[in-house]
């Protein structure tokens, strides 16, 4: 089926969940609390690093309504983690970050639990905290995880015992030393920013029940019901068949709910009260600090180049401030290494990406998964190179843009599915009026400047990442698709709906996608993350449609008395391709066909589809060589901002993104993802970051002080799609959910640096930071 004959793809029907979401009627996890639910409350550490001297639970345990009070001592051997089990559910012996849970009470009501938690008496002996990766790596630094060697972990994670390195990923491609030695131009710079938070609209919540049948059921605001099931099995020592995870729609995840967060502790508490659900819910403040956020970064980048701008080599050091526990961050740093150069042709690469323990709140997956970090570092370094060469930064990127036939840092070949980066750069330049000039002083003294950055990302997924789908029919001939994908705001379902409608040639109004995932009922799906849900669940859905169509034809061929291969399915019917009037409605076949005399044949049609990542391999521990990336989505983005040089105040006026997405399935959903990503990137670059006091306590752990970009402050957005087909994607589509955020900090830093006349190396870019930098630069 040729692209231009698409009937439903490329349409933008209204989201099916729009009325419920905007009308406040949708039931999220915390809207499903049954009568009889017990409520848990937690005590959080006020110290970033301390020995726990004592935890006295006696007064709390005796408080009205309290069923139990617990500390780390209640689970002395349990360790939870994704790739490495390093985190106790409640702190034992030491606390390693401000906000770490230290004690829990479970009571009949939320009010009683909150009143009782205040009666827990915990005393600490403060220890000096480690406040940055370099501090943690300095000789003689305290080792935050002395038991690092004994932690259960997957083989791909390589911690360095006796240090604070949770994982080191090495890339050694070509001959970087030689390239640097002979290069005519070498630039180098250091770039950094502190950790921050996802700030999703819905704070995390988990409701766990240990049934009297010995099965554990967890309803959670999770992006990964099957992931949670597996990790609970490992962490709690229960087989998967005794664990059920239910995933209602989620009010924003952004990666923060892609791993395992409140579920283990909720389950451990529930197991103390068989037959009673136990609810564990975050306040906003706890959601920001106690549950994981995103990592910080310290980095150094060197680039070697020819005088005409051709890049010869890159030497990259990325130190991820992963905070107190490894969680997802050990894979985030690995993913950053895989993509470390950015979407450019770099024949020689030396890179080390380290995931480093500090006493900061710990980090998990965040939209971009390490790519914002690597991109910020390399895009800033490229700007130093452009400066050095006197070259337009966009021209430098065009010159070096990766193309099919080039290799990634891990030596994987970019195949014909690779997107068209130069086309994306050209579109962004056009939107910003790049060639009209990049810097202009306005009559009122303000300075307008433009910045542009490029990005790429392949999903950082296990080599065996999978998706399943089933398709069934109702009496009215409508189809329902079931997958393991979670609705986290991205509207994947409406994309899947169009894919199924297109494949069945059925009106989308007759296609429904099951909105909730439940490990007892949904086909297996790795996780709703990594911008792969539409790709993989889409492929699985196509498989399910194909299977269902074959079954429909098989059953229909009997009453229609024809060979199956002469039949076509479309417009709600099964009919002879060469004589369309001769056929049957799907509703007469999908649940079995009944002859006039009552004989029935067939039975419910159940289409089954599945997909598993193709051709992925692990990485060589010494050189990083391998093919971990499934498909690369590339693009460019840029901004124009206006700076007031008197006080450093500025506004982003325009923000443009052009991305090669293969095929746009649902344009308004796709646009929504890119605009949302740009907005989130502006927040990331300009204000969203934790600030710490001298003892590494978080000072802005509430939305009063941790500011997000608001409507009214946002720029004019421009979105363009390039459609170089992804051969193995559904209808040629490739993933696009995350990528729009990745280049924003680099683009904003480039524009702000140009406006201010000084290269900026830190985030967030606040007016005071600009003002101070400009003053330092003035002679």
């Amino acid at each position: 089926m040729a692209m231009d004959q698409a009937r439903y793809l490329g349409g933008s029907p209204e989201r099916t969940d729009a009325p419920a979401k905007t009308g406040g009627a949708l039931r999220y996890t915390d809207d499903r609390v049954r009568p009889g639910t017990l409520h848990a409350a937690l005590l959080y550490s006020p110290y970033a690093h301390a020995r726990i001297a004592a935890v006295d639970l006696s007064r709390a345990a005796a408080a009205p309504g309290v069923r139990g009070a617990f500390s780390g001592a209640d689970w002395p051997d349990t360790l939870i983690g994704l790739y490495m089990g390093d985190k106790p559910p409640l702190a034992r012996a030491t606390v390693r970050y401000y906000g770490e849970p230290v004690a829990a009470v479970v009571a009949d009501s939320e009010a009683e639990a909150l009143a009782a938690i205040r009666l827990v008496e915990a005393s600490f002996e403060a220890l000096p905290p480690l406040g940055s990766p370099r501090e943690s790596l300095a000789p003689g630094a305290a080792v935050l995880h002395p038991e690092l060697g004994s932690y259960r972990r997957i083989p791909a994670i390589l911690p360095e015992l006796g240090t604070n390195v949770a994982n080191r990923t090495r890339i050694r491609k070509g001959e970087p030393e030689t390239a640097f030695a002979r290069a005519p131009v070498v630039v180098s710079g250091s770039f950094s920013f502190p950790p921050g938070d996802h700030a999703a609209m819905e704070p995390r919540v988990a409701i766990a029940e240990y049934g009297l049948d010995g099965r554990l059921t967890v309803t959670s605001s999770t992006q990964s019901p099957f992931g949670v099931r597996t990790l609970l099995a490992k962490g709690l020592g229960l087989p998967e068949r005794r664990i059920r995870v239910v995933a209602p729609p989620v009010g924003g995840g952004f990666g923060g709910k892609a791993g395992i967060q409140l579920e283990p502790l909720a389950c451990l508490l529930a197991m103390r009260f068989p037959g009673r659900p136990v609810r564990l819910a975050n306040t906003r403040e706890a959601d920001m600090v106690s549950s994981p956020g995103r990592p910080g970064l310290e980095s150094t980048v060197r680039i070697a180049a020819e005088r005409d701008g051709a890049i010869l080599a890159m030497d990259i050091e990325l130190l991820f401030d992963s905070g107190a526990y490894a969680d997802y961050a050990v894979n985030v740093s690995r993913a950053a290494a895989v993509a470390c150069t950015g979407p450019y042709r770099v024949p020689n690469v030396k890179a080390d990406a380290l995931c480093v323990y500090t006493n900061h709140p710990f980090a998990t997956a965040f939209r971009g998964f390490g790519h914002i970090e690597l991109s910020y570092a390399t895009e800033r370094a490229l700007d130093l190179l452009a400066d050095e060469l006197g070259m337009d930064p966009a021209a430098l990127r065009e010159r070096n843009a990766a193309r099919p036939g080039d290799t990634t840092p891990t030596g994987a070949l970019l195949d014909p599915n690779t997107g068209d980066l130069p086309a994306c750069i050209a579109l962004v330049k056009e939107r910003l009026g790049w060639d009209e000039g990049r810097r202009r002083v306005m009559p009122d003294g303000k300075v307008r400047a433009k910045g542009l950055a490029c990005f790429w990302k392949a999903p950082a997924i296990p080599t065996f990442t999978d998706a399943g789908a089933t398709l069934a029919f109702a009496e009215d001939g409508s189809a329902v698709l079931t997958t393991g994908v979670v609705e986290i705001g991205q509207g994947c379902f409406d994309g899947l709906r169009l894919i199924v409608a297109e494949a069945l040639r059925m009106d989308p109004a007759m296609v429904r996608v099951e909105p909730e995932a439940d490990t007892d009922r949904s086909p297996h799906d790795w996780t709703t993350a990594a911008s792969r849900s539409l790709f993989m669940a889409g492929r699985a859905a196509l498989g399910a449609v194909e299977d269902a169509v074959a079954q429909l034809k098989r059953v229909a061929s009997a009453p229609l008395r024809c060979p199956e291969e002469d039949l076509e399915v479309g417009d709600g019917r099964i009919y002879l391709r060469d004589d369309p009037a001769h056929g049957l409605p799907i509703s007469a076949v999908a649940l079995g066909y009944v002859y006039e005399n009552g004989n029935a044949i067939g039975g419910p049609v159940i289409g089954r589809g599945r997909y598993i990542a193709r051709g992925l391999s692990g990485m060589d521990p010494a050189s990083g060589e391998g093919r971990p990336g499934l498909e690369w989505t590339m693009g460019a983005e840029g901004v124009e901002l206006e700076l007031d040089p008197r006080d450093g105040g500025y506004r982003v006026l325009r923000s443009a993104c052009a991305m090669d997405v293969g095929k746009v399935i649902h344009p308004s959903l796709a646009r929504g993802q890119l605009v949302g990503a740009m907005a989130m990137g502006i927040g990331y670059a300009t204000r969203e970051a934790f600030s710490f006091d001298s003892r590494r306590g978080v000072q802005n752990a509430s939305l009063r002080d941790y500011k997000l970009l608001r409507y009214g402050e946002d720029p004019e957005y421009f979105v363009d799609f390039v459609q170089t087909p992804q051969g193995d994607g559904p209808y040629g589509a490739r993933g696009l959910g995350e990528q729009g955020i990745i280049g924003m900090p680099g683009a904003i830093a480039q524009a702000a640096s140009l406006a201010a006349g000084v290269q900026l190396c830190e985030l967030p870019i606040t007016p005071e930071y600009l003002w101070t930098s400009m003053r330092k630069e003035r002679p």
């Binding site: 939320e110 009010a111 009683e112 909150l114 009143a115 205040r118 306040t283 403040e285 008197r646 006080d647 105040g649 300009t686 204000r687 600030s691 006091d693 000072q699 802005n700 509430s702 009063r704 002080d705 500011k707 970009l709 608001r710 009214g712 402050e713 606040t766 007016p767 005071e768 003002w771 101070t772």
Partner: protein
């Protein structure tokens, strides 16, 4: 959720409100002594409730901020009035007697007509939401100051009185009132010597005289509202606000200034842990307006210096605030000229 046993009271007059407060305070101190605990001020005692944003957010965060009884003042007519002075307040006595009245005249709180408390000004009830002050333009500088605080949804709840008498350091709504030399009105629990049957005294006072870093209200004192002389409300004004990031954020500096007969009056928020003003600072700004070029710049420098060095905190350094103040004073001088 805020755990605790909270009593909610909704009086319909200032007298009822003060009486309710007094009763609740007595009950709380009785309970406290029965429990053998010292009855610290505010310990599970009553609080006046208008918008409730500060009570809610502080009680959520800190177990030490106890809430025993909430006396909702949104039904008190004087607290919701705006425009003309409510008739009941026309006869309000001067807090502190004739002395205070004299002071009020001296500090310039007198109206253009020269009579302290003359009813030719505009009155703003303490329970009015900032959103209403923002929309009504009786006193444009107050509308500007109100609009700068938080966001519109929150301003639908934030009250003038809560903002002026609250615990946060910003309290931006008080800045135009200080600049204008406003009068305040409140209800106090009755004296023992008061006529039988009267539950409260209505009093008026000079805001500047009672405001030294904060408005020190007496226990049980119910803030009813403020009046501003018409001349001040209609005078040329300047308003500058700067934040750390975008417009919806706490203030790094907020400057409110008004043209007066003698030159100018101004007040500064955000730069210190309290709103600040002084007669010396007003004099220096007045001198600046009368001067130009280098002399103006020097006078503006003196105006800033009169209030002291701004603070450094996680939001901004003192140095940056000082630079913002200098720029804001320049802007103010231009706008007032």
């Amino acid at each position: 959720m805020i755990p605790g046993d909270i009593v909610y009271l909704k009086p319909e007059s200032a007298e009822e409100a003060v009486a309710a407060w007094t009763l609740a305070a007595e009950a709380a101190s009785g309970a406290a002594s029965a429990a053998g605990e010292p009855s610290a001020a505010g310990a599970a005692g009553p609080r006046y409730l208008a918008g409730g944003t500060e009570i809610l957010t502080t009680a959520r965060r800190s177990a030490a901020y106890a809430v025993g009884a909430l006396v909702d003042v949104k039904g008190v007519p004087e607290a919701r009035a705006s425009g003309g002075l409510p008739a009941s307040l026309a006869g309000a006595a001067w807090l502190g007697g004739a002395e205070a009245a004299g002071d009020a005249t001296a500090s310039g709180a007198a109206t253009a007509a020269g009579e302290p408390g003359a009813a030719d000004g505009f009155y703003f009830g303490a329970a009015l939401p900032l959103a209403e002050l923002e929309d009504g333009r009786l006193f444009p500088l107050l509308s500007d100051a109100a609009r700068g605080v938080a966001d519109r949804t929150t301003r639908n709840r934030l009250s003038l009185g809560g903002n002026v008498a609250g615990q946060l350091p910003y309290r931006e709504a008080v800045l135009p009132l200080l600049a204008a030399g406003a009068l305040g009105y409140s209800a106090l629990p009755a004296d023992a010597s008061a006529a039988a049957g009267s539950e409260a005294r209505l009093v008026r006072w000079d805001l500047r005289a009672r405001f030294d870093k904060r408005l020190a209200l007496l226990p049980g004192e119910l803030l009813l509202g403020f009046s501003v002389p018409k001349a001040a409300a209609e005078a040329r004004a300047a308003y500058v606000r700067r934040t750390r990031t975008g417009p919806i954020d706490y203030s790094l500096i907020t400057l409110c200034a008004l043209r007066t007969r003698g030159g100018a009056a101004w007040a500064l928020g955000g730069a210190f842990p309290y709103p600040a003003r002084s007669d010396e600072a007003d004099r220096a700004l007045s001198e600046a307006l009368a001067a130009s070029g280098e002399a103006r710049t020097r006078a503006l420098g003196r105006a800033a210096a009169a209030l002291g060095e701004p603070r450094s905190d996680p939001r901004a350094s003192g140095e940056y605030r000082a630079a913002l103040i200098a720029l804001a004073l320049e802007t103010a001088a231009e706008e007032l000229s």
